[in-house]
Subunit: 240 residues, 6 copies
Amino acid sequence: MRTVLVIQPVVMRAWEAGDGQELVRYLDRVKGPTTVVETVAITLGPASIETFYDEALALPGILRAVEQHGADCDAVVINCFADPGIVAVRQIVEVPVVGAAEASMALALQLGHRFAVVSTGESAGPWIELQARAMGVESRLAGAVGIAIPVLGLGTDPDETARALILAANDLIETKGANVIVLGCTGMAPVAEVVRTALPVPVVEPMAAALKTAEILAELGLRHARSGLYVPPDKTKFID
Amino acid sequence: MRTVLVIQPVVMRAWEAGDGQELVRYLDRVKGPTTVVETVAITLGPASIETFYDEALALPGILRAVEQHGADCDAVVINCFADPGIVAVRQIVEVPVVGAAEASMALALQLGHRFAVVSTGESAGPWIELQARAMGVESRLAGAVGIAIPVLGLGTDPDETARALILAANDLIETKGANVIVLGCTGMAPVAEVVRTALPVPVVEPMAAALKTAEILAELGLRHARSGLYVPPDKTKFID
Amino acid sequence: MRTVLVIQPVVMRAWEAGDGQELVRYLDRVKGPTTVVETVAITLGPASIETFYDEALALPGILRAVEQHGADCDAVVINCFADPGIVAVRQIVEVPVVGAAEASMALALQLGHRFAVVSTGESAGPWIELQARAMGVESRLAGAVGIAIPVLGLGTDPDETARALILAANDLIETKGANVIVLGCTGMAPVAEVVRTALPVPVVEPMAAALKTAEILAELGLRHARSGLYVPPDKTKFID
Amino acid sequence: MRTVLVIQPVVMRAWEAGDGQELVRYLDRVKGPTTVVETVAITLGPASIETFYDEALALPGILRAVEQHGADCDAVVINCFADPGIVAVRQIVEVPVVGAAEASMALALQLGHRFAVVSTGESAGPWIELQARAMGVESRLAGAVGIAIPVLGLGTDPDETARALILAANDLIETKGANVIVLGCTGMAPVAEVVRTALPVPVVEPMAAALKTAEILAELGLRHARSGLYVPPDKTKFID
Amino acid sequence: MRTVLVIQPVVMRAWEAGDGQELVRYLDRVKGPTTVVETVAITLGPASIETFYDEALALPGILRAVEQHGADCDAVVINCFADPGIVAVRQIVEVPVVGAAEASMALALQLGHRFAVVSTGESAGPWIELQARAMGVESRLAGAVGIAIPVLGLGTDPDETARALILAANDLIETKGANVIVLGCTGMAPVAEVVRTALPVPVVEPMAAALKTAEILAELGLRHARSGLYVPPDKTKFID
Amino acid sequence: MRTVLVIQPVVMRAWEAGDGQELVRYLDRVKGPTTVVETVAITLGPASIETFYDEALALPGILRAVEQHGADCDAVVINCFADPGIVAVRQIVEVPVVGAAEASMALALQLGHRFAVVSTGESAGPWIELQARAMGVESRLAGAVGIAIPVLGLGTDPDETARALILAANDLIETKGANVIVLGCTGMAPVAEVVRTALPVPVVEPMAAALKTAEILAELGLRHARSGLYVPPDKTKFID
């Protein structure tokens, strides 16, 4: 049995009542038979991450969650397309740390000539361009855009969400030559199947991509070096 | 149950007597519990792929093997770091096609700041640079070199092979800043564990990386678009 | 006198009856006064190269043709914009080896700020982007597209072929800022003059570009190094 | 009169006793005659920023400091070479926001063919490479390294600090062709003059570079667009 | 007091009568309180620089002007967006040399995700792309275009000039995702304020950007290395 | 018969007595049988081009020489590795304009995986890097260095010149992986054969490369577009 710790880097008000349950059910369907998924959400921070500001306020909670729950897991998944804190988390754990964006883009590289990302919000396009540059895959990115529905509204009218994603994706396919579509938000998992059915190209759902990548890194015994970029921090110098 | 067709793109003289058996045993250890691995080697072509010339002569055999054996599988793996014929195979099948180099480099991107590849032969360094450029990840490649032991000699003295790989890898770590090492030949699987133990950074073994990536692409229902680069060929125009 | 061996990497059914003669006449018009052009077509393989699949099946024939006919020539030209087997051929001969795409793009770099390529078929655009990246000139490529007429149909209605090329070229000039057009198929030579007359920018015909480049490399005594990427293969390990 | 708010993104224990005073005196020497410098340090977080982990824990404090003190200033400077929170701060203010790294690299581009950065710690080299890539100036970066003295030890033995910086800088000049040196930590200001005198190339001290850049952006009335990457966050969705 | 020598690299027929006065008044408004601006125009050469031909004929005059007037200044500004002679001038002076394009682009990098340049004339777009590549910031350039009004006509109908600039800028903002506009000609200073007011993104006026950058380089004691690219020429080998 | 106008962009004091004769004899050996080479040197300017300052002072003479002698030629060659004025000359003539560096690098791209340039002087390395970037081939450049012998001293002791070039080239081959060497000065033609014999990789002599490229562009009827970057200048606005 292998345990993957999935960090939900946002405060989920409705966690116990429902949203968290839906997340857990989705991960259960996606995970391999020998994987145990443990999910933890931060308790202080934003309800969604759509700007660098949101991300900044989520980071201490992510690190605290990893420090509290990461001791015995075999891999960590940061469940947000911003990959918030991915380098910082690698600096404090010995197990592989997988981001939704990195994992999705790594698979997309193997599925088509150019991929595009459809996310939400005005900030998403340039932000994802920065992510692709940081990962060194910017020449494979056909484009990135955000639909006008905010993260917390994605579930309000799933049909409308799917329609908006399909419209944006088809535009990237036709005008930018994209032949892979990556969904740029892990909150889009509920509509991924509808979008996939409607589009003529493969569609990568990032939460599943990250979980499966975490599983195979754990199985292969692969984890980042603890030197260079990922050298452990000196935790004695924090002051409060 | 999912079937992964592993194409061995070289002629294996000793297939029945032993080499093929070792390959099968390795894949059996690596594969997931619900995966069936079917292995097929080409019967006409080079005994190893170390130059573009070798690769060119292997390609028709690879395509024939896929055409004969690829009908009912769920994914295809090309079991050679040259990823020979990977685009051509994608043009003739509907299932995901995974190359050892692409899969290894995609995982390496998630394990460190810069990766390096240790392969065999004088041609390997520039060839792998071309592969990294084709994949669009050249800015993450710290370097690529070949050791002086040819592919068919890698098993002659495994200790010597491991020593040479460790020496070359440590040089790339120290002088080029590599913090992930990718083994640049699927024939290095037998010594991968020894090399991994000796090095201070993660070591990606490409055959396992490719098989596990094929498994998750199949599980996620992800396959390349059949448009653009992967449009099906017109098979009526071949003449003999 | 200098001999340039032109490899026709496709099976030409109508070789003796006509197509081959037209090719020979074109090369005769283009060649320098002291050049002897020797032309050889492969006898087993595709009738045209429009996909990686086609190319893969042409490669053994190309290598065989070079091995049989390349002994006494002063340069080799691979007469197809895919530059099929160009590296493999360099690994087995001592004389300069020129590809239609490489030669055309090298001249295009000296004729304008950005060049575009007009080829045939759906696969052409991304394929040519990969070629430009492999050559390291992707920042100079304004775009690449294929017209809807397949290679073997280019000669059916030359006026229609020219019209389609001119239309595609003007679009690349106006929307992508191309100021050089490269014809992306050596089968377009018969309509090159018509296209050139119609366009406001220079038009590079790749067969002529390759032949003239082969001539000057031979005259300058320039041939590739036989080390690194072009190290000779070990021919003893081929098995049939 | 123009006010520049300088955010010290680390907790300064000795603020009142001395370190803060030294910082204020330095900024006073560097600032223009009509500039008022207002300095504020965060009160909860790391004592220095040397890893992504440190940075993550500093971010909420930086944003809070800007929200509390940024109302009436004409520009904001983030006084750390990691440029922590620079995008997030731009999302919440209307005035120009200047980072020490961005400002230093922007000036370095105008002073030599290639610049190199000398910072502190093992993580610094790859981190600064990521910063240069994010800024799009990676082709101008000759190299980046960290000396072995941690940030909080830079002032312990200034002579030793200067010696280590000069040694590292000369190595980058000689082996990497750097002809501009950027000091990669604002805590190096006290030894900048000694280093500058010892080196044969220009030396950019980042705190001064950032302050002067903030002054001229304010004078020129230049501030970032509040659209795209810098769109304002929805502050109602934070939960505690 | 610091003296900045502003080289006007074009022949200004109307210098004494008016154009030069307007230039002087603008620089006086922009400069800092302790800066003395000394302006000198070349006396032999083009009346404006819109092509490489124009620039070539301006260069000897620029160098002569620097040699005659550059002895006691603290910084040199080349007052033209082509940055004519900027490297050559650095080879002959010890003080910082600032170009209008370099200074503008360096500031634009700090103001938005992608900048675009609006200049004049058909040649401007590709020329500015070459400048951005030479500076290594091409990945940040959204686009560059020239309006149809020539440099010497920019002042004929300032309203029409502003209208054309605003139209071109809005197109770059909407179709290319630019979120900073750089005016690509120092002759556009008189209409900069009108353009700035009309656009939803920051607008960089290059003459002011260059003067302010010269001031801060001088104040920071930063000047280019006199080695490598900027090694002094051997002036004894000029023959006339 | 085709006429190639070779512009010697330096003042050759000893033109009539000898240097010019040697140049003419070399070009005569290299040119094709139907080519007429017409050579013209500038009469006012530097004796050699080793810095941007030198180049700037050579430009008006180059343009004047083209204007006076370029009327009836079929191609223009600028005979200096700096390619001085190459864009400006294209703006004023209708025939192909070939630079020694562009032509050499275009051929080098077809001869090996990475090329290196060996030139003269301290400025050469970064200058050639800028040239490779401007041409968009920087990823193929292994390195560029200058030997310590100045241009005007290359002929003083040809054996010593050859020795220095061979030493520098071998270093680039061994430490940078170069497998093509480009001589970075047209004044190195007299020692090119000695250097070529001594090195294990192809050696491109730029004067011959440029002349042969000019011949084939003329034969193929290829000339640059007169739009975009190469739009003709307005010659009425020059003032003296």
